[in-house]
C-alpha cells in the first residue's frame, strides 16, 4: 500500500482510536486532508475547488480527487468502513469512516510527526474538532492552542479571458 493511503488510514485510526462505534465525519476528514496537502504530508495530491454541500449549504470547498480515489480504494478493499447516518432534522446523511482491516504503517517519520502534532496534544490526547461554516477548528484542551482549517478558502488565480461567441441559438435549433 502506498504512503498516501497509509496516511489516510492512520489519520482515521488516530481519530477513532480503533473503536467500532466511533466514526470520523467525511467533511472533517476532507478538511484534514486539505490541511495536510498544504503541509506537504500528502505527496502527489493536489486539490481543486468543487461545489459541495457543507453544513446544508452549497459551497466551493478544496477537494482532493486523488485522496477521494485512495479513500475509495481503502473502502473497496475493506481497510476502512463507511457509514451513512440519518439524523432527525437534517436533510442529508452524515457520512463517516472508521477502521476495517488493520495495516502496518511504514511511512516516513516526519510526516507521522506532523499528523500527530496536528491531531494530538502534548499528553497524546486527541484534540477537540469543531465543524464550522468555513471548515474545522482543532482545539487543544491543555494549552488552548487552536488550528483553524478553512476548506472554503479558495485560492485566487490571475487569469485572462475573452468572450467565446457561440453561433448556436433559438433560430438555428428551432428550440
Amino acid at each position: 500500500m502506498d504512503e498516501n493511503k497509509q496516511k489516510i488510514h492512520y489519520i482515521i485510526n488516530l481519530l477513532t482510536n480503533g473503536d467500532r462505534k466511533r466514526w470520523v465525519r467525511q467533511i472533517a476528514l476532507f478538511a484534514l486532508i486539505y490541511y495536510f496537502i498544504k503541509l506537504k504530508v500528502f505527496k502527489g495530491y493536489d486539490y481543486a475547488p468543487t461545489p459541495f454541500m457543507w453544513e446544508d449549504e452549497i459551497k466551493f470547498i478544496n477537494i482532493s480527487y486523488e485522496a477521494i480515489n485512495d479513500l475509495n480504494y481503502l473502502l473497496d478493499e475493506g481497510y476502512l468502513n463507511e457509514i451513512l447516518l440519518s439524523v432527525r432534522g437534517l436533510n442529508d446523511f452524515i457520512v463517516g469512516y472508521n477502521l476495517g482491516k488493520k495495516i502496518d504503517y511504514n511511512f516516513n517519520k516526519e510526516d507521522k510527526e506532523i499528523i500527530d502534532n496536528t491531531l494530538l496534544d502534548d499528553d497524546k490526547n486527541l484534540k477537540e474538532i469543531q465543524i464550522t461554516k468555513e471548515g474545522i477548528i482543532l482545539k487543544s484542551k491543555k494549552d488552548n492552542e487552536v488550528i483553524e482549517i478553512k476548506i472554503t478558502d479558495i485560492d485566487k488565480i490571475e487569469y485572462k479571458s475573452k468572450s467565446y461567441i457561440l453561433k448556436v441559438g433559438l433560430c438555428e435549433t428551432g428550440l
Partner: protein, 447 residues
C-alpha cells in the same frame, strides 16, 4: 498543486443555467437589454443595490461592480446574444446567451491562467472556474429586476455558486486513471465517458469535458444537453429545499407537542412565516419547471442534424426528459404535503397561542381582583390610621390645654363634652383621610 501534467489549448468554459423565470419575466429581461434606447452606441451600465433609501436620493452612489452590455444579436422578446463585462472584476468579457425559455449560457475562452498562456493546466483551470461562476451570477444579479432577484435569492441565497460547466478543447486527451482525476477537478467526479467521432465527451458530477479537434461541432449539443442538466439541477434544488422545510416542520411540530411559552410562539411564528414565503417561491418555480419540462418533452427530438441527434441518443436524453416528469410529480406532492403541514401547524400555533393568552388573561384578571381587594383593605386601614391619629391629637391637645376638667362637667345626651369633641375630631380625621386617599388615587390613575 500547480504542477499538473494535463494541459489543454485555449480552453473554452461554457456555463449553463436555467433561470427559473416564467416567459413574462424572461421577455421583460430580454426587452430590458435590447430596447431601442439601449441599442445606441453609448456604454450601458447595470448594477444592483440592496439600499432602498436610494429611491429618495437626488444623488446616489453604487458599488464599483457594474456590468456593461454589448448586444451582438437578438430576436425581440425571444432571445438575445450579448457580451458583458463586470467593471471592478478585472474587466473580463463574457459571451451571454439568454432566451425566453430561461436558458442562460455564459461562454469564455481562457487565454492566460497563472503563468500559463495559451496552454492551460487543468489544475489552474479548476481555480478559474469558481471565479467565472461567481462573475456570471453577479452579472445576472445586475441585469435582473428586483422581484426576479428575490426569487433567485430565496432559492440559492445571496449568490448562486454552482452552474453546469462545459470545458471545450481541441487538445486530444488520453484517458487513464491519472487524467480522469485531473479532469475531475474541472467537472467533478467522472461518471461516464463516450467516444464520438474521434473525440471524447466525459461526463462529471457538475459538468462535461469535450475534447475534439473541431470543438465547434458540439455547439448544438452544448446548447441543449447542459440545459437539461441545469433543469434537472433546479428540480434537485427544489427537492432539497422541500426536504429541508419538511425537516424544519418536523422540528416545529415536536416543539409544539412538548409545550411552548409565549417567547417560543413568536419565534415559531417567524419560522413558519419564513417557511411560508419559501413555499410560495417553490410553488412558483415548480410551475415554471413543469411548463419547461412539458415543453422539452413535447418538442423532442429537437430540430438537430444526425450528428447531434446521435449524441443525444447516446446519452439517453429522451429517457432523462421523461424521468424529469416523474420528478416534478414527486416535487408537487411534497410541496402539497409541506403546504398543508405548514398550514395546520400555523393553525395549531394560533390555537395554542390563544389558549395561552386566555390563560394569561384569566390569571391577570384573578391577580387584578386580588390586587383590588388588597388595595381596598389597605385604604380602609389607612383611613382608620388617619382616624387614630386625629383621636390621639385631640386627646393630647385636650390634656395639654388644662381645660379637661371643665369640659368633663358639661354633658350632652349624658356624655361629657370632652367625649363629643374627641368623637367629632376622630370622624373628621377619618373623613379627611378618605378625601386625601381618594385624591391621591385619582391623581395616580390619571398619571
Amino acid at each position: 498543486m500547480r504542477n499538473g501534467a494535463v494541459k489543454i489549448k485555449n480552453p473554452k468554459i461554457i456555463l449553463t443555467e436555467w433561470i427559473p423565470f416564467g416567459k413574462n419575466h424572461m421577455t421583460e429581461f430580454i426587452d430590458r437589454i435590447t430596447l431601442r434606447e439601449y441599442q445606441r452606441k453609448r456604454i450601458k451600465y447595470f448594477t444592483a443595490s440592496e439600499r432602498r433609501d436610494i429611491k429618495d436620493k437626488a444623488i446616489f452612489e453604487t458599488s464599483e461592480y457594474q456590468t456593461t452590455v454589448n448586444i451582438i444579436d437578438f430576436i425581440p422578446e425571444t432571445s438575445v446574444k450579448f457580451t458583458a463585462k463586470i467593471i471592478g472584476a478585472g474587466n473580463k468579457d463574457v459571451f451571454i446567451y439568454v432566451d425566453y425559455l430561461g436558458r442562460c449560457i455564459y461562454a469564455s475562452e481562457i487565454t492566460k491562467a497563472g503563468n500559463e498562456e495559451g496552454i492551460i493546466s487543468l489544475d489552474n483551470l479548476s481555480f478559474v472556474i469558481p471565479d467565472l461562476i461567481l462573475n456570471s451570477s453577479r452579472i445576472m444579479n445586475h441585469l435582473i429586476a428586483s422581484p426576479q432577484r428575490y426569487l433567485l435569492e430565496t432559492l440559492y441565497g445571496e449568490i448562486k455558486v454552482y452552474k453546469h460547466v462545459t470545458v471545450l478543447t481541441e487538445t486530444e486527451i488520453e484517458i487513464n486513471e491519472y487524467t480522469i482525476l485531473e479532469i475531475s477537478q474541472v467537472i467533478g467526479a467522472v461518471k461516464n465517458i463516450i467516444e464520438v467521432d474521434d473525440g471524447l465527451i466525459i461526463f462529471g458530477d457538475f459538468g462535461i469535458f469535450i475534447s475534439h479537434r473541431n470543438p465547434e461541432k458540439f455547439e448544438k449539443f452544448i446548447y441543449y444537453y447542459p440545459f437539461i442538466r441545469s433543469i434537472t439541477g433546479v428540480s434537485r434544488d427544489l427537492f432539497f429545499k422541500l426536504n429541508n422545510i419538511a425537516s424544519k416542520l418536523e422540528v416545529i411540530s415536536s416543539n409544539l407537542e412538548s409545550g411552548v411559552d409565549l417567547e417560543d410562539i413568536s419565534e415559531i411564528r417567524g419560522e413558519l412565516s419564513r417557511i411560508d414565503r419559501e413555499l410560495a417561491v417553490i410553488e412558483i418555480v415548480c410551475g415554471y419547471l413543469k411548463e419547461i419540462i412539458e415543453f422539452l418533452n413535447s418538442s423532442y427530438p429537437p430540430n438537430f442534424g444526425d450528428f447531434d441527434l446521435m449524441i443525444l441518443e447516446k446519452v439517453e436524453v429522451e429517457r432523462k426528459l421523461k424521468r424529469l416528469n416523474y420528478r416534478i410529480i414527486e416535487i408537487e406532492n411534497i410541496l402539497k404535503s409541506n403546504d398543508s403541514l405548514a398550514t395546520s401547524l400555523a393553525r395549531l400555533l394560533t390555537t395554542i397561542s390563544e389558549d395561552l393568552e386566555r390563560k394569561i388573561a384569566n390569571q391577570l384578571a384573578e391577580n387584578t381582583k386580588y390586587q383590588v381587594a388588597l388595595g381596598e383593605a389597605m385604604e380602609v386601614l389607612e383611613i382608620g390610621i388617619f382616624g387614630v391619629y386625629a383621636l390621639e391629637a385631640a386627646h393630647v391637645l385636650l390634656s395639654t390645654s388644662g381645660k379637661e376638667e371643665i369640659l368633663h362637667h358639661i354633658k350632652i345626651l349624658g356624655f361629657p363634652l370632652e367625649f363629643w369633641i374627641i368623637l367629632i375630631v376622630t370622624i373628621l380625621g377619618v373623613y379627611v383621610g378618605k378625601i386625601i386617599i381618594e385624591y391621591r388615587k385619582k391623581k395616580v390613575l390619571k398619571e
